[in-house]
């Protein structure tokens, strides 16, 4: 392992993290819910009367964030190296996995670890571990 000093951005990462923490705080203190993005999305696919507006609003906020960012600064363009086949496979795995495992990086990673949930600690260790192994296999064993 060697640290990639050219791409390591601790201050921006920490500042962005604080914003994410504020968003999770707003969500639980105002709505009484966990800001888990896969759970919010998944609930839209199982519509319950009167339970969809806040979910749609949260998703709209996420999708609309780049527009608001544009008011202050130029948008950094994401670099998406995966091909379309890999994106479809990854999307299916993320969709099924986050619902089966009851959460993703936001629900288990940010909110769950913030509330010291043992379930979330196990889930976060499992998806981070799987992520590390997957990148090791694709980049260093298969050379993709």
């Amino acid at each position: 392992m060697s640290i990639d000093w050219n791409h390591f951005t601790p201050l921006a990462a920490m500042a962005g993290g604080v914003l994410i923490g504020i968003a999770a705080a707003m969500f639980v203190l105002l709505n009484g819910r966990i800001a888990g993005i896969s759970g919010v999305l998944g609930g839209l696919l199982r519509p319950v009367r009167g339970d969809s507006a806040w979910r749609m609003a949260f998703v709209l906020g996420l999708v609309g964030a780049p527009l608001v960012y544009l008011l202050f600064a130029a948008l950094p363009r994401p670099q998406i190296d995966a091909g379309y086949g890999a994106l479809i496979l990854a999307g299916l795995l993320v969709g099924v996995g986050t619902r089966y495992g009851s959460g993703c990086t936001s629900g288990h990673g940010v909110c769950g670890l913030s509330r010291l949930s043992p379930r979330s600690l196990v889930a976060t260790a499992a998806f981070m571990g799987a992520g590390f192994v997957t990148v090791f296999v694709t980049r260093h064993l298969l050379g993709i």
Partner: protein
Amino acid sequence: MTAFASLLAGLVFGLGLIVSGMANPAKVLGFLDLAGHWDPSLAFVMAGAIAVGAIAFTVAHGRAVSFLGAEMRLPSARHIDRRLVLGSVLFGIGWGVAGFCPGPALVSLGMGEPKALVFVAAMLVGMGAFEFFERRKRAPAPHAA
């Protein structure tokens, strides 16, 4: 009112993902690539988010209703089972393949990235498949009961 709070929270969450660089899959994969040139940024995002979140959840745990009067709905499940681990492992594999998890994918979709649209569409199909099989498991076959 809770819908407006949700919209604001979604916006702040999305801005946090852009500012932190996590809306960029290449940067997320840089964190997941321990054996290559490792970019530890994602750990700093988590640290910043958890520092604020820990305070908020301490306050939330002591309340029966939110500041807007909504019922507190915090998860009460404590068991660690196969679903939790297997689901999280599947998610982690998908995360490692493309560098996208649900939040950053939605933000990238908002940036007008066609590849993010493909990922989000596949993710929704995956979530829909989960709902379909869960519903079938819960409801017994019409003439079997």
